[in-house]
């Protein structure tokens, strides 16, 4: 897949077992966040993501996050308004011998309650090795 730029604007999505465990399985089994991620996983891996599903992450985000070079999709992955999509996948684009792909790097709440880190802060730590306020 991953032939964007040559007519088919879809990217394969690859999910590392370690990332899935740390990002999704941290939520309780029946929690809305975990149920939503597990519902979308098969779709991600079977169908990939269209470039039209994606947004660029902000190079200078609202909470001090610096996520230039990453992309995101809101969850549930529907055409609903963003306010009805409380979670997000953050992905890093890569290349292997099969072509271009998107690798999951973070999942979680876009606007969590105080005291909990957002999906953007978690992606920042995975990218830079520390949280934005550290």
């Amino acid at each position: 897949m991953a032939t964007y730029g040559r007519g088919a604007a879809r990217f394969a999505v690859r999910v590392s077992a370690a990332i899935w465990r740390e990002e999704v399985e941290r939520f309780a089994v029946r929690s809305p966040a975990r149920v939503a991620a597990e519902r979308e996983r098969r779709r991600l891996e079977d169908d990939g993501l269209s470039v039209e599903d994606l947004q660029r992450c902000a190079a200078d985000g609202a909470a001090g996050t610096r996520l230039g070079g990453l992309v995101k999709v809101y969850v549930p992955m529907t055409r609903a308004r963003a306010s009805q999509q409380p979670f997000g996948f953050v992905l890093s684009a890569g290349r292997d011998d099969r072509g271009l792909y998107l690798a999951l790097v973070a999942y979680g709440e876009r606007h969590p309650r105080p005291g909990t880190r957002s999906v953007y802060e978690r992606a920042h730590k995975r990218l830079h090795g520390r949280y934005p306020d550290q």
Partner: protein, 76 residues
């Protein structure tokens, strides 16, 4: 009214430390109000994710060519 005798376990940890409680790992992070909080741990990097998959991250030029025109809502 009854009183409870509570003895706290003193932990010698600081922000940035990794701790394990009940078999689960947590990062010790700032609670942004002068205290600390525990956040489910992040123990691998973006580069590690690509390595596990068997690929490499796109270069900045490759990313701009593929995604430079995508919208960005500034949220994060």
């Amino acid at each position: 009214m009854t009183t409870m005798a509570v003895s706290a376990k003193r932990l010698d940890v600081q922000i940035g430390d990794l701790v394990e409680i009940g078999g689960r790992r947590y990062d010790v992070v700032s609670d942004k109000h002068g205290g600390v909080a525990l956040e489910p741990a992040i123990t691998s990097s973006v580069a590690d994710a690509h390595a596990e998959i068997g690929g490499r991250p796109m270069t900045a030029a490759e990313f701009d060519a593929a995604f430079g025109d995508l919208p960005c809502d500034g949220e994060g």
